[in-house]
């Protein structure tokens, strides 16, 4: 029995793959910016340092636990298939972004909250003594060191969401896994197509980790 592998018939479709990668990166970028921003806001609500109203803490807490205890694919299907029945019709791309934002938002809430709660009390006292208001204390004194502390976990979570975006191909979002599926449906080289897609994903995760580890100190938290 001989197995012949034909990678070339997959690689020759490289424009499709490139388009898929572009979509994957675009989805991830938008989801990261909005999702982490949302996560910071929710972390602020849930943190024990700030005194957000109790009902709001409960709402955010429920949101976080719901998302963290259900699979991403189910969240995605609910948004794309379920919401239209309730009157909200979405394109695959928009549904994917919303699902990724909601998903990343919930996980980053917990991650960032851990960082915020670890703020030494003296830092807040110093900021308060310098007459900074609550928002200034949070954004300028508490958040940057907190982000620095949890950066590795946050980066890992962003990469998890990027890898999770592969599922969005199931609702016809034209990201990388969709491209691979399309290619193999044409030339029946399923194994080769998915191997190549997998290796591309692997490079994307390594690359993204390096990029985010470079970006963080530069833009978000000093050194």
């Amino acid at each position: 029995m001989r197995i012949t592998l034909d990678f070339w018939s997959v690689l020759s479709e490289w424009p499709l793959l490139v388009k898929g990668v572009a979509w994957t990166l675009a989805l991830t970028l938008i989801a990261t910016v909005i999702g982490v921003g949302f996560g910071i806001a929710c972390a602020w609500v849930r943190s024990q340092n700030t005194r957000a109203p109790g009902w709001l803490q409960w709402v955010v807490g429920t949101y976080v636990e719901l998302i963290r205890n259900t699979p991403f694919i189910v969240q995605l299907f609910f948004i794309f298939f379920g919401l239209p029945a309730a009157g909200v019709k979405l394109t695959p791309e928009v549904a994917s972004i919303i699902a990724m934002v909601i998903n990343l938002g919930a996980y980053s809430t917990e991650i960032i909250r851990a960082g915020i709660d670890a703020t030494p009390k003296g830092q807040i006292e110093a900021a308060v003594s310098l007459a900074l208001n609550r928002m200034q204390t949070f954004t300028r004194v508490v958040l940057p060191p907190a982000l620095k502390k949890v950066w590795p976990s946050l980066v890992s979570q962003i990469i998890i969401v990027m890898l999770g975006s592969a599922v969005c191909g199931q609702i016809s979002t034209q990201e990388l896994s969709y491209a691979a599926n399309l290619i193999q449906s044409r030339n029946f080289r399923a194994f080769e197509a998915f191997i190549i897609a997998t290796l591309v994903y692997l490079s994307l995760s390594v690359g993204m980790r390096r990029l985010l580890n470079w970006l963080g100190p530069r833009f978000f938290f000093g050194r």
């Binding site: 197995i3 636990e65 963290r68 205890n69 694919i73 189910v74 890898l163 592969a166 994903y201």
Partner: protein, 217 residues
């Protein structure tokens, strides 16, 4: 037009949910066994073991689970073996779980102070004896909360097996949703059932972690 009640939907979903549970258990237990072997291999400091296991972990942690499932499904087929979605999903999820568990456990062993290794080797214990009597017992205690926590990830991971045709909770949800034209209700029920499976495990893992931190204080 046949009217389906929520109870009809739930009943059908429950039937499929048991396959979610079976697959989760197979992946978790199988992955645990493979992960343990990989851990021991790595700790044995055999030549290339660290690189191999490290690469293995990188591979499974740096690629989508969906791709791993596809590769298992089509890869096994390449060998001419007529494979069912069940087998492919079991293999893929077992390997996926083993990679994550071995990495979690490696961290727990690394958390054991070097002094424990030194003290036990000074008492002339062999590597195996050090592991068995000194290091692993302590590491296991630290490892329990994150390991229980990862079970939640495994349960959620089984949902992807639906994509290669395995009929578990998510796949049943898709099918029922197509049959009843009630995607909102159906997927809400699916989400709820996953939540009922996962949330208690999450809570348990959190309480274990709290107990662990309390003890260490």
């Amino acid at each position: 037009m046949v009217e389906f009640s929520v109870w009809d939907i739930l009943r059908n979903l429950l039937g499929a949910a048991q396959w979610t549970v079976y697959l989760s258990l197979i992946a978790f237990i199988g992955g645990g066994i493979v992960g343990l072997l990989l851990l021991i291999l790595r700790l044995s400091k055999a030549r290339g073991a660290d690189t191999f296991v490290g690469g293995y972990v990188q591979l499974f942690q740096g690629t989508p689970l969906l791709m791993q499932l596809f590769l298992a499904y089509f890869g096994i087929a390449l060998f001419g073996i007529n494979t069912s979605a069940w087998v492919a999903a079991s293999v893929a999820l077992t390997l996926y779980t083993s990679a994550f568990l071995t990495e979690i456990w490696r961290g727990c062993v690394a958390a054991i102070p070097k002094g424990q290794w030194e003290a036990s080797s000074s008492l002339a214990l062999s590597f195996g004896e050090q592991l068995r009597h000194i290091v692993l017992p302590q590491a296991i205690k630290i490892a329990i909360p994150p390991t229980v926590g990862f079970l939640v990830q495994v349960i959620k991971g089984t949902a992807l097996a639906s994509v290669i045709g395995f009929i578990e909770l998510t796949k049943a949800g898709t099918m029922i949703s197509n049959a009843t034209f009630k995607p909102f209700v159906v997927y809400s029920c699916v989400a709820l059932m996953y939540f009922v499976l996962c949330f208690p495990v999450s809570l348990y893992a959190k309480s274990l972690e709290r107990k662990m931190n309390a003890v260490r204080r």
